[in-house]
Amino acid sequence: MNFDFSDDQKQLRDEARRFLTEKCPPKAVREVIDGKATYDRELWKGLADMGFLGVAIPEAFGGSGAGHLELCVIAEEMGRALAPVPFSSTVYLAAEALMLAGSDAQKQKWLPAIASGAAVGTLALFEGSGNPSPGAIKLTASNGTLNGIKKPVPDGAVADFAIVAARTASTGRETDISLFLVDLTSEGVEAKALTNIDPSRGQAEISFKNVKAELLGPANEGWSILTRVLDRAAVLIAFEQVGGADRALEMGRDYALDRIAFGRQIGSFQAVKHMLADMYVSATLARSNCYYGAWALSTNASELPEAAAAARISATQAFQHCAKNNIQVHGGMGFTWEFDCHLYYRRSNALALGLGSLSYWEDALIDRMRQRNAAA
């Protein structure tokens, strides 16, 4: 059994950590939070130069072709550093959708642009409150023309193109949905940035008025492609969550060692020690589930749907748990704008929602476990 990342992959992790420590300190995150930029363009460029944007994109399409385990390793570091760039929407959602379902021409057009940092992509799925479901998609496509509104669209205000889930029929089945690729500079597209709980990452509303679009993948197979994209993104975002959880735990631990109250380190009080030990427990469980997700993702295993849901649930719980109790360990300091605790708290809650809520994934996990049991 070799249930671990290879030495090369670990080296890549170290390299990514060094790079992000230098290029993405909390100060950089705050530039975006304070509204001085929509995202960190310099960091984005740097990520492209390091080859991180195209790490899972085949060489034929301008990437390095390394693979998804490498991408997982980088995702963890991105989460740890709270990188304020449209990485997840571009790399986990748009690029994965293109690689799964794009035509050769579509891949040729967009994948090299993603890898080089020239294009930001996203997935336009949600239309207001609610979880991923074919029934919730009202935006229509007829004869390659889209009409409707998507919200929230991650990084929608800065994206160059979007994969849009659209209704192409009304039979009440999954096959009603098809995916379209839209150049967001097209006429009829209007994007409006929306305030959200984690301002280090953008959210937008995009309206489509008679927008010309091309199919991505076969007509009427949009939902099944989408499900696979979401599973893949779930694993990758889970790595971001684990990275964030670990960092929040470290911050709490460091503060507990540093802060003195009642003449002793607060980390010597069992209330604080046990709080931190419990954070370690959830972070460890999440990391192990994520490794399994990484294996399933990188080998395209039939276990991926179940592994992805487990990784997502576990990592969501761990990051939320660690981020909120990191504030608690910090006392009043934790509730200041100046300390970074709230950045992790915000991000933990934003990541928990982005691909659909915890309840949605809980439901999905049980469905998938049952299917496997029934098959066995």
Partner: protein
Amino acid sequence: MNFDDTPQEAAFRAEARAWIDANAPKELEAELSKPSAKRASENRDGMIDVAKAWQKKKADAGWACLHWPKDYGGRGSTPIERVIWQQEEGVYDKLSRPFAIGQGMCGPTVMAYADEEQKRKYLPPLASGETIWCQLFSEPAGGSDVAGLRTRAEKDGDDWIVNGQKIWTSGAHYSDFGILITRTDANVPKHKGLTMFFLDMKSPGVEVKPIKQANGMQEFNEVFFTNVRIPDSQRLGAVGDGWNVSLTTLMNERMSIGARLSTGFPELFEFCSNLMLEDGLAIDDRSVRSKLASWAVKNSGLKYTSYRSISALSKGDRPGPENSIGKLVSGSMLQDIAMFAADLQGASGALTDGDADTAGQFQAMILQSPSMRIAGGTDEILRNIIAERVLGLPGDIRVDKDVPFNKIPTKGR
């Protein structure tokens, strides 16, 4: 990243599988597969004899305590081979329970501290299950605080004379030997006046009284010592060095990687997959699903955490600290799951004999689970260990550290 065996591992696995296939007591497979059939240690229906027979058969073929040196009854296997063996042994592993303390804790301690002649004499029959050993550490005055123990050992010629009482000693009632920690000097700080021995449980003056547990079973005991003589040659480690010796034992207790701690989840999942509620299967109910999902990811988290440790072993590395979470997570999970399963059964959840399909397994789990959160280190002690050894937080402020033992307060309010 993969789950494949190396060629050597695969060869070892094939050999183990073939041998088990040819030799395991298949007639017990069905019974052992039931979660309720776990308690060979209670010696119901002569389970001990069955366990001993299987252990002996393994020993004769070189499959007992396989990570031990050959001279002491093992086969000199690598840690990863040991894990592979456990995986292959599967349900028959449940028959090893009566030997777990002896082989997991007493054996390694004897191996580290006894002299060569003793090791050759005592370890092979321990490996083969011909003798059973117990661990005489906890006392009424100290369980978490083992070093608070009061059983006295006084030197008399070449012997030591032991007086006092141990408690919670699992399996003492069917054990042949035990390792025993005693206080040999009460005038020095508590951790400094301790000395470790091993002894024959049939020595005159040893009296074992079973304790009836909260769940009605009897697996642990009180053990009283009245002028019990132990030869000095049976001392393990130096006089006054008992605390360090005991750490060897306790470390081995917590280290057993791959030891599958039961969480109750597979049982619950199966139960919910079949249970009809008023408006459908339990597993189709959203509120049931949400709970199941949270436990599912803990269960898989533990499983893959142990895979990570196994992978480290497979590479010849030392596993990281991640394995320390196992008992802490599974203990309270077992309890929560058992309570939820009983809840799903409604008012009949209170019945312990139930109908055939679940046969009271969750009720037994409810009653058994509190001990999981205590035995071998309480939840609180485990959190301390994670906080201190893994996260590097300071230890508790101690009032008992540099004080002579006989000056330490002993009673609550």
